[in-house]
C-alpha cells in the first residue's frame, strides 16, 4: 500500500515535468499546426548553456535558470526563423524535417562545446528528501510540481486575460479571420515560439537539476516525452497537455515498479499506439495534416 502511494506520488512529480514539456509543444502545435522536433534539442541547448556558465563562472542557481531559459528562447527563435517562418502556409512535412535538421546541429554543437558524455548539474536542494510518515518526497519534485501549477496559471492568465492571449486564441481558431482582423500572424508565431521555448527552458533547468546531470540525450528525451504526453492528452489542447503529462508520469511510475524500465517504455508506446488505432474521440478531433 505504501509502495502504491509512493509510486503514485513519484508518478505525479515525474508527470509534472512531462506536463511542462507537453505545454511547450502544444502551444507551438496549437498555433502553428506544425510539429517542432527541435523543441527538445532547444531545451537541451539552454541546459548546456547553463552548464557552461556554471563550469566557467560557478554562477548561482537563479542565474543558471535564467541562462537556461534565455538559451532555450534563443535556440527557439533560430528554429522558428529557419524552419517555421519560411514554411508558413506551406508544407508541414518540410517544416518538420527542417526542424529535425536543426536538431542535428544542436546535438553536435552541444558535444563540441562540452565534449564529455555527462556533466554534473547543481541540485536545487541536494539535501536528504523530506519524509512524511512512510512516504518520502524530494524537494526538487515539489518544486517541479509547483512550477507546473504556476506555469499553467500564468499561461491561462496570458491566454485569457491579455490582448496577446486573445490574438493567440484567434490565430488558433481562425487564422485567416485573425489576419483579416489586423492581427500580425507572423508576430504571434514568433511570440508563441518564444513563450513555448521559455517554458521548455524552465522545464529543462528543473529536470537537469533534479537529475543533477546533463547529457546530449536530454534533447531526444524531451522531444519524445513531450510528444507522447501531447498526443495522449489530445493534440493541441492545453489542459490535455497537462493531463497527458500527468497520466504518462503515473503510468511510467507504476509500470516501472511492476515490470522494470524497458517494459515501462513498451507500455507507454503500446498505449499510444492502441489509442491512436482505436481513434479515441479526444485524440482525433483536431486536424493534424
Amino acid at each position: 500500500m505504501t509502495d502504491l502511494a509512493q509510486n503514485t506520488l513519484d508518478g505525479l512529480f515525474l508527470g509534472s515535468s512531462y506536463a511542462l514539456l507537453a505545454l511547450g509543444f502544444t502551444l507551438i502545435f496549437g498555433v502553428l499546426r506544425r510539429v517542432n522536433l527541435s523543441f527538445g534539442p532547444a531545451v537541451m541547448f539552454g541546459c548546456y548553456a547553463a552548464t557552461w556558465v556554471h563550469l566557467n563562472f560557478g554562477a548561482g542557481l537563479v542565474l543558471l535558470a535564467m541562462v537556461a531559459v534565455l538559451g532555450s528562447i534563443l535556440a527557439g527563435a533560430y528554429v522558428e526563423r529557419l524552419c517555421f517562418a519560411p514554411h508558413r502556409g506551406g508544407s508541414a512535412i518540410a517544416a518538420m524535417v527542417a526542424s529535425f535538421a536543426l536538431w542535428m546541429q544542436f546535438e553536435e554543437l552541444a558535444t563540441i562545446a562540452l565534449p564529455r558524455h555527462v556533466y554534473d548539474f547543481p541540485a536545487l536542494h541536494g539535501g536528504a528528501p523530506l519524509a512524511f510518515g512512510a512516504l518520502t518526497l524530494r524537494v526538487e519534485s515539489l518544486v517541479m510540481l509547483l512550477a507546473a501549477v504556476l506555469v499553467c496559471a500564468l499561461l491561462w492568465w496570458i491566454l485569457y486575460r491579455t490582448r496577446f492571449g486573445v490574438a493567440v486564441r484567434a490565430v488558433i481558431d481562425q487564422p485567416q479571420a485573425a489576419q483579416l482582423a489586423g492581427i500580425s500572424v507572423p508576430r504571434i508565431f514568433m511570440l508563441t515560439f518564444a513563450l513555448a521555448s521559455a517554458i521548455g527552458g524552465l522545464a529543462g533547468f528543473l529536470i537537469a537539476s533534479s537529475h543533477e546531470q546533463v547529457t546530449p540525450m536530454l534533447g531526444m528525451w524531451s522531444t519524445m516525452k513531450g510528444l507522447l504526453a501531447m498526443m495522449l492528452g489530445g493534440l493541441g489542447s492545453l489542459p490535455g497537455a497537462v493531463l497527458g503529462g500527468l497520466a504518462l508520469g503515473l503510468l511510467e511510475a507504476h509500470s516501472q515498479w511492476f515490470f522494470g524500465p524497458q517494459t515501462r517504455d513498451l507500455i507507454a508506446y503500446a498505449l499510444l499506439f492502441i489509442l491512436l488505432a482505436a481513434r479515441v474521440p479526444w485524440m482525433t478531433t483536431r486536424s493534424a495534416s
Partner: protein, 295 residues
Amino acid sequence: MDDYAIGVLTNVGLISFLALSAYLLLIAGEMSFGQQAFFGVGAYAGGMLTAMYGWPLPLAALCAMALGALAQFLVGLPTLRLRGLYFAMATLAAAEMARILFELFHFQRQLEGEPVGPDGTQGFRGIRWVFEHGVEPLGYLGIVYALLALALVAFLLVERSRLGATLRGVGEDPELAASLGVDVNRVKLGVAAAAGALAALGGVLYAHHNTYIEPRNFDIMLGVHSLAYALIGGLGTALGPLVGVVLDIGALEGSRVFHGYRMIVFGGLVALLLIWRPRGLLDERAVQWLRRRFS
C-alpha cells in the same frame, strides 16, 4: 578503391533502401517515423536465418522481406486510416515498441560450442555468411548496387504506369481518388507492404555487411534520417532519395572535410534547401524540366 571508400559506398546503398521505403510512403501521402522498425525486422530475421540455421543468404533475404512486408501490413491495418501526424506518431510508437522488443529478445543456439543469436541489449554478433562464403567487400558492394538498381527499375516502371498515377493521386487527394473509384485503403495497404519489404531488404544487407547488430541501431534517428533523405533528395522521382543519401553519407562523410562539424553543416544546408525547395531537390517540376530537356 580502398576499404574505406567501399564501406562508405556500401552504406550509401544500404540506407538507400530505407530512404526508398520512406519515399514510397511519402508519394502515397503518408509520413512514417517508423521505417527503421522494418529495417530492424529484416536485419534480425535475415541474420538469424543465415547465422543460426545455416540458410543461404538469398533465401533468408526473401524470407526477411516477406516478414517485413507482413509486419508493415499488420501495422498499417489499424493505422493507415489516420491522417498526417497521427499516422506518423502511430508508426513511431510501433517502431519504438519493436526496438524495445529487440532489447528484450534473447534467443540463442549453441553452434560449435559458441552461443549464436540475438542477446537483448548485448546485440547479435557473428552474422558471417558473407565472409564464410568468400564474398569480397567489392563483390558485396556489387550485390547491394545490383539489388538497388533492380528496385529503382521497378520504381521507374511503376511510376510510368497507371499504378504510379494512382499512387500519386491517392497521395495528393485521397477524396478525389476515392471518387474516381480507387480503393484508397487497399492501395495504401499495398504500399505499406511494399515499403516494409524494401526496408527489410535493406536491413538484411545491413546485418550481413556489419556482421553485428544491436537494438540501438534501429532507433528513431535512423527513421527520421531516412525520411529526411527522401524529402531533401526530392519527391519527383525515385532517384531523389538516393541523391539525399549520397549528399549526407557520401559527400560529407566521404570527404571528411567537415570532420567534427558534419551535422552542423548538413543540418543548416537541409534547412536552407527546404526553404528553397520544400519538396526536395528533384521535385516534380525539376523532373519534368529534366524530361523535356533530355527527351
